[in-house]
Symmetry: C2
Subunit: 411 residues, 2 copies
């Protein structure tokens, strides 16, 4: 087994070639990576079958479904890579241009990060998505898949490397960590000077481990305790539509709604409507005041601080807009929060004072997504404030440098 | 003594009021802070005299000079604050605006960080600079001055707080840590969820402590081992001018040049010119090949990895542009590096392949500065790739959020 350190060094050695590759070379490599996935589908499916066999019994049905590949899913991965190839090159964009009175020309220019590490869990398709985005952004990458997806991820990386080398880029532009123990995650987190950006994609435990242990620059992603606040001035039909969509359209994702807060003046009318619409599918966990209006399970101590990722919704009644904002400040993970209201002053207050990556008026939190925001793709949803916030597209996977051209200026 | 934790909590409690303040209120507060410094000059000078008395004997002359305040320096601080007041408000700028086919209007909007912590050393004027920038960027701040500057910083903060409250902002928008032991730095580094951004401004030891211990988002600043590479195709008179300026105009700052590399074809002619120009003032530490051309001290093992901040310059001869780029990749701190050349292809290679915050062609590295780059001010020079790189102005002290306005959209 190759050591994690050596794999990181491989990526560091390859980063210069990826950074120096022009747009055409990178796109040719991406298209070849997509083709190689299709051509290598049998091998990838065999590896995935082995992963599935090994995992059955030890992980649940939802996780098994995330792990499973099919010919269609492999085609989906290839299609995703081709879409990344079609996006504009984020590298080399001049973000700011200034000519100084002394004649210096200063350009703030987007450049690659260098080495991007991504730690993820059981979905093998993340392997292809993450590698494609890193290559397009001009960076080498080091991927660490969850143990149960390792054979699948390995087969996918082998195929993609054939595409990379066919286009003249080093295969080691894309690397998969071989050690699937916790040790390899720790090595990625502490590879100071070698890993330029670490993106943990996973549960709260992984994110916490990164915050506590990482010495490399790190972007936290994904934990979403998203709120919808139904204001006194809300259109209640619209509010029910939005809560239903945000809760039920895909409960397992981070932009799904976990908490519904209702203004006390709207609660008597809104809560029965909500129960009528989603009560059959969704377990409502009610605070004391909501339980005084509709039937349902009483919320436990942790229910307003839990990312259910399931057909469960915590429901509470608040006295005012301020009460809703204060509740969100205390309980939100800073992902996506929404107000439903026809009152533009209330909307403006909520938008200003709720300190989350995405703040909504009158729309479902489910839109927090790189594709839906028009970025064309995403590496994840950042819930931190430094560098990238919300969906991270290609631009957010780059850094910049200042390029200064003179003709002998001194200070 | 108030605990560091309580001081951080004060800042967290004040951040909402600073974030919600409009441009006029913030500017009024800044002008009142400047006035209060002038009005409180006697008290500040008395506190500074006490700091100077206590420090004499235990710190050197250079540090004593950094610590010293005078009526002129206080006026300089006030002038700096007024200049920040005159800059455009960075908060609320719409960085991107998109209308989606479904009618959603999505705006990526600059918003305040929240609580910014700054750890610095002996220069009391940083207290005023940092506080002014934080307030203008809509954030509360927690300052931790070096022990030897604590009385001065405390008097400056007291004066600025009078200005803040006169303008209707909470005095706790600007806070100074009272505990001057190492413990308070550690508390700032680990105040997860309370400190949104930590900026260490100081020596390599402080930066390393942050990298190793910080659990809050952190921007490394300031260590500058800056290189000037004199290419085979350089105008040698220009090269001497640039090296002289970058080394001698202010050797104690991070954008001063510490290493000069010369192409072997230019060395025979250039090195005698360099020695002639600066050899009387600057100790040249020569690698073996340079020592074969001019007289001077032989470089020791660490001389190409040392931020001298003094009249010392490491000088080496390289075989090629590639050799220079490789040397810089190994030894640079990623701050500012320069090529002097008339060969545009060599310049383009250098600009692309040198991975530093600022890369120059034919100009002194001393220009890496917020004012010189046209940012109007700066909080420091970032040498990391995440969020901010190079001089950090008001824009880099903000984060952004996505504001999404709909009329009932669901996904």
């Amino acid at each position: 087994m190759k050591s994690t350190r050596d794999i990181i060094l491989d990526a560091a050695a390859a980063k210069g070639a990826v950074a120096a590759a022009d747009t055409e070379t990178k796109n040719r490599a991406l298209l070849a990576m997509a083709d190689a996935l299709i051509e290598g589908a049998d091998g990838i499916l065999a590896a995935n079958a082995a992963d599935m066999d090994a995992a059955r019994g030890s992980i649940g049905e939802v996780m098994l479904d995330r792990l499973a590949l099919s010919r269609e899913r492999i085609e989906g991965m290839a299609k995703g890579i081709r879409e990344v190839a079609a996006l504009p090159d984020p590298v080399g964009r001049v973000l700011a241009h200034v000519e100084r009175p002394n004649g210096l020309v200063i350009e703030r220019t987007a450049v690659p990060m260098g080495v991007i590490a991504i730690i993820y869990e059981s979905r093998p398709n993340v392997t292809a998505d993450a590698a494609a985005l890193a290559v397009k952004a001009g960076s080498a990458c080091v991927l660490r898949a969850g143990r149960e997806a390792h054979r699948s991820a390995s087969a996918i990386v082998e195929a993609m490397r054939r595409g990379l080398t066919a286009a003249g880029l080093p295969g080691t532009a894309v690397n998969l960590v071989e050690d699937t123990s916790r040790q390899s995650s720790t090595e990625l987190m502490t590879a100071s000077g070698l890993v330029d950006l670490l993106i943990p994609r996973g549960g709260a435990g992984l994110i916490r481990a990164c915050v506590e242990n990482a010495t490399v620059p790190c972007i936290e992603t994904g934990t979403g305790i998203c709120h919808i606040y139904v204001d006194a001035a809300a259109d209640l039909e619209m509010a029910v539509d939005i809560v239903e969509n945000a809760k039920c359209s895909r409960p397992s994702v981070c932009n799904a709604c976990e908490v519904c807060l209702v203004h006390k003046d709207a609660a008597e009318k809104f809560l029965p409507m909500l129960r009528e619409r989603i009560g059959g599918r969704v377990e409502l966990r009610l605070d004391g005041r909501a339980a005084g209006i509709i039937d349902g399970k009483r919320a436990g101590e942790r229910d307003f601080d839990t990312e259910f990722l399931d057909y469960i919704l915590a429901v509470g009644v608040v006295d005012s807009l301020d009460g809703a904002i204060a509740h969100i400040a205390e309980h939100s993970t800073g992902h996506s929060d929404c107000i439903v209201t026809a009152d533009s002053a209330a909307a403006a207050r909520f938008l200003r004072d709720v300190d989350s990556a995405a703040v909504y008026v009158n729309a479902s939190t489910r839109f927090t997504d790189g594709g839906e925001f028009g970025l064309g793709c995403e590496m994840g949803i950042s819930t931190q404030k430094l560098h990238a916030r919300g969906p991270m597209g290609l631009a957010e996977l780059c850094t910049y440098k200042y390029i200064i051209r003179g003709d002998g200026q001194v200070r």
